[in-house]
Symmetry: C2
Subunit: 347 residues, 2 copies
Amino acid sequence: MSDTDDDAGLGCPVPFSQYDRVVLAHGGGGRATRSLVESLFRAALDSPELREDHDGAIVSLEGPVAITTDGFTVRPLFFPGGDLGALAVHGTVNDLACCGARPELLTVSFVLEEGLALTTLARLVRSMGEAARAVGARVIAGDTKVVERGKGDGVYVSVTGLGRVRRALSPRNVRDGDVVIVSGPVGDHGIAVLVAREDVRLGTEIASDQGEIASLVHELLDEGVALHVARDPTRGGLATVLVEIARTAGVSIVLEEPSVPVRSAVSDACELLGLDPLYVACEGRVVLFVAPEHAERALAIARRFQPDAARIGVVTEGPSGLVLAKNAFGGERVLELLSGEQLPRIC
Amino acid sequence: MSDTDDDAGLGCPVPFSQYDRVVLAHGGGGRATRSLVESLFRAALDSPELREDHDGAIVSLEGPVAITTDGFTVRPLFFPGGDLGALAVHGTVNDLACCGARPELLTVSFVLEEGLALTTLARLVRSMGEAARAVGARVIAGDTKVVERGKGDGVYVSVTGLGRVRRALSPRNVRDGDVVIVSGPVGDHGIAVLVAREDVRLGTEIASDQGEIASLVHELLDEGVALHVARDPTRGGLATVLVEIARTAGVSIVLEEPSVPVRSAVSDACELLGLDPLYVACEGRVVLFVAPEHAERALAIARRFQPDAARIGVVTEGPSGLVLAKNAFGGERVLELLSGEQLPRIC
């Protein structure tokens, strides 16, 4: 059960017939399902396609389209800086942006746990709707299943996103000399969720960075920046993303570790908890690989979105997949993919 | 935890590195996730798009496209006649067919419970791959999350399907006089799952009807049948689907109840359990609304796929949403949407 299922005090303007919590009948496909869809989902996620009330949505798509899917199981459902609903939309939209695609169409599939407060669900779904509208995407199809108490954890959601590709971004475009930029401080999301969950006491509150990076990616494309790859450093963090790209592109990367922006509260928390901020997840940052002659311009644009955006490394010839992190004293270490599980259920 | 998680005896040809069960690290986005994706998912669901190893797949789609999404939480994971993997593919493909679309592209999002046997997961994923290949669809993107033991039930999966629309099928096309055909006996799936789960003893084993109805729908279109609506009677069963269509189309439907094919083992089980077979879910049947002059031909085609396909009713002028079931003795009852939950987690 969600640890935030008792938020009746927040109120809810939508009448959910006779229920105030999710019951198995809400997943039965009959009257209760219909009432939930109409009073709650459709109210928050309205679109012409949802109004059609069919088994699927019919849309018109021309040319190359990016398609991505992700499950979201973050715990707790609400955390400083965000919630599962907004995170699910942003995570999907960001993956589309990393494919060079516009955020256009979303589908959502909910697995609800019996007993979840409908006010909690309504808050999450409204948050989803707001996040989608803010980036110009719309929800065109959905589904709800209900599992028995103790067989879920409040809400799990899977989101699929579709959008037309403006320019193909792929690790295969990476060139020797490309400059690596990160769009803001890393690790805020992972630490914010961990703190919210584990009741760790820190001096400063850390808010998640969850948010959309599509606007930045499209601004770079609008301004003609030679962007080769964009990748959001979610699970596995910055280090894992760099290793993955270096492997797929068949290049080496030198990371100037002191240049990586990390908030002092995050680095303090990491030290306390024995975590390496390079492996802690972000949910609103993007790593950009840019042709060297466009690096200054790309950085200036990124800083319009987040002042701490920074140039953190460079692509070099060298063994495929090698990522070398250089520290402030000239020392070096080889970064690997995240091994084991650092922070379960951060997204 | 799945009640079938101990199937080591079935063997598994794929080496899953050091693990034989799902651990939290499989959802961490690092090395264990990668190993699971490469050794298990990609082996069973290979496609050019999955091999690209990007945040999303890039595909080319022209013209109207149907998009549908569904979550699958059926319990148990394996039941007579099917399993969650095949059901998830067929359920999605069938929704596409009901939109008049070809089954082309699928995305899959898994929520795995810590402790699930990897052999169980491999069986389900292979079953998915086989079901997809059999209908000519391919899996182009996926995601895996892992939740702690006791926060799931083995595997939940959400599938999104995409396919080009051949002809728009919609309740809005329904006309007075249209003939209603069902493609085979109803209720097998719901009863098969219930029996597998609850350890009910019946004289005869009932196998689920789960399977694809896309071939039938496309055969009808190929042969030029004036098919107005196709809808698969899943959750809520035949009765709920008829009421939904009657409401959306703004018509009445007269159902000749004795014409509805129900296996005797299913009707016996329903009597024993106090269920109405008209409300029990199918997962491999379709209800067809056909222009009267094409009804005989449509029925003959349907019987090539399933000999028990039957003409069960007719669309009439009358109050919008009214579905009248006539019994063998001339009596009538009004059918409603399923009220409450009959059989939780049948799909």
